[in-house]
């Protein structure tokens, strides 16, 4: 194996290294562990079920994105409301102004 290139014989030895191998067996009590898993999967507690769903990265990421979007929306609306003056206040100001500057003399002249 120390040579720079494998010889055909060495290559065949590696490729045939699995011949004559024995089959692997699982650890003892495989059926018991399988039964325990099946029981756990068919009847999980509702809290555990909910936590399992929430702890999924996709769900957690989606929740974070929704949270950030809602936050952004609320902040954006708040700033917008501060900077814009409502239409009614313009009208009220305009009416008040026109009353203050009402041409009193003009009106008497016209009579």
């Amino acid at each position: 194996m120390a040579s720079k290139r494998l010889t055909d014989k060495q290559m065949d030895e590696i490729l045939d290294s699995l011949s004559g191998m024995e089959k692997a067996e699982p650890r003892p009590f495989f059926y018991t562990r399988l039964q325990a898993r099946m029981a756990a999967e068919t009847d999980p507690s509702p809290w555990g079920k909910a936590m399992a769903i929430l702890s999924r990265p996709v769900v957690a990421l989606a929740t974070l994105v929704i949270f950030l979007l809602v936050n952004g929306f609320i902040l954006f609306n708040k700033f917008e409301r501060k900077t814009t003056v409502p239409e009614e206040s313009y009208q009220a100001l305009a009416m008040e102004y026109s009353e203050m500057n009402s041409p009193f003399y003009e009106s008497t002249e016209n009579r």
């Binding site: 490729l15 191998m21 089959k23 692997a24 067996e25 495989f30 562990r33 399988l34």
Partner: protein
């Protein structure tokens, strides 16, 4: 011991004793096949359990078009490949999942898997061979593993893979060629 036909009928009717017999008589077959593909003892145990759960849940869909053992091999191979794909995806998103602390298990297997059934004087060579098998395309990997690790004949491999014997011969031939290339590269880097 029940014949395959009786076993399937009992399983279809939800007989727990039949399920127990199925697990106890075929656990070696399933575990050995899965271990050859996933190359990790703990993962092989989990995937083998999943195989039996799938069999329990979907045995009603088994129509007897192939032998029951062939069908069982198919479920084992498919489940093992699904597991490997999921693991590969997990590796890609390892950074994100680590942020959520979802799984603290190492995603990268130590590269020194040796099948426990390999003879002692072949262990070093088999270790390198298993690393090279990992790099084969899925079809070649399945054919080579079923033939070499599980000891199935070309005919049996072709039944499991639902293909012809000639196709299996070709897959195994190409697998050997690819393994030779990978091994040459490996030893070039080693030196």
């Amino acid at each position: 011991m029940l014949t395959d036909q009786l076993l399937v009928e009992a399983l279809k009717s939800g007989d727990q004793a039949a399920f127990r017999e199925l697990v106890e008589t075929r656990q070696g077959l399933v575990y050995n096949t899965v271990l050859g593909l996933v190359q990790n003892a703990e993962d092989a145990e989990d995937v083998s359990q999943e195989v039996f759960i799938k069999v329990f849940e979907s045995v009603k869909q088994f129509k007897g078009e192939s032998a029951f053992t062939t069908w069982l091999y198919r479920v084992a191979v498919t489940t093992a490949l699904e597991f490997l794909r999921k693991k590969k995806r997990k590796k890609r998103f390892a950074f994100l999942t680590s942020l959520f602390g979802e799984d603290q298990n190492p995603l990268h297997d130590p590269p020194d898997f040796v099948h426990p059934g390999v003879q002692l004087d072949n262990r070093e060579k088999a270790k390198v061979l298993f690393q090279a098998i990992n790099k084969l395309p899925d079809n070649q990997r399945i054919a080579f593993t079923l033939h070499k690790v599980e000891g199935l004949s070309y005919q049996e491999v072709s039944d499991v893979m639902a293909t012809t014997v000639a196709a299996v011969e070709s897959l195994i031939h190409r697998a050997r060629q690819n393994l030779k290339k990978t091994l040459h590269e490996y030893y070039k880097q080693e030196n």
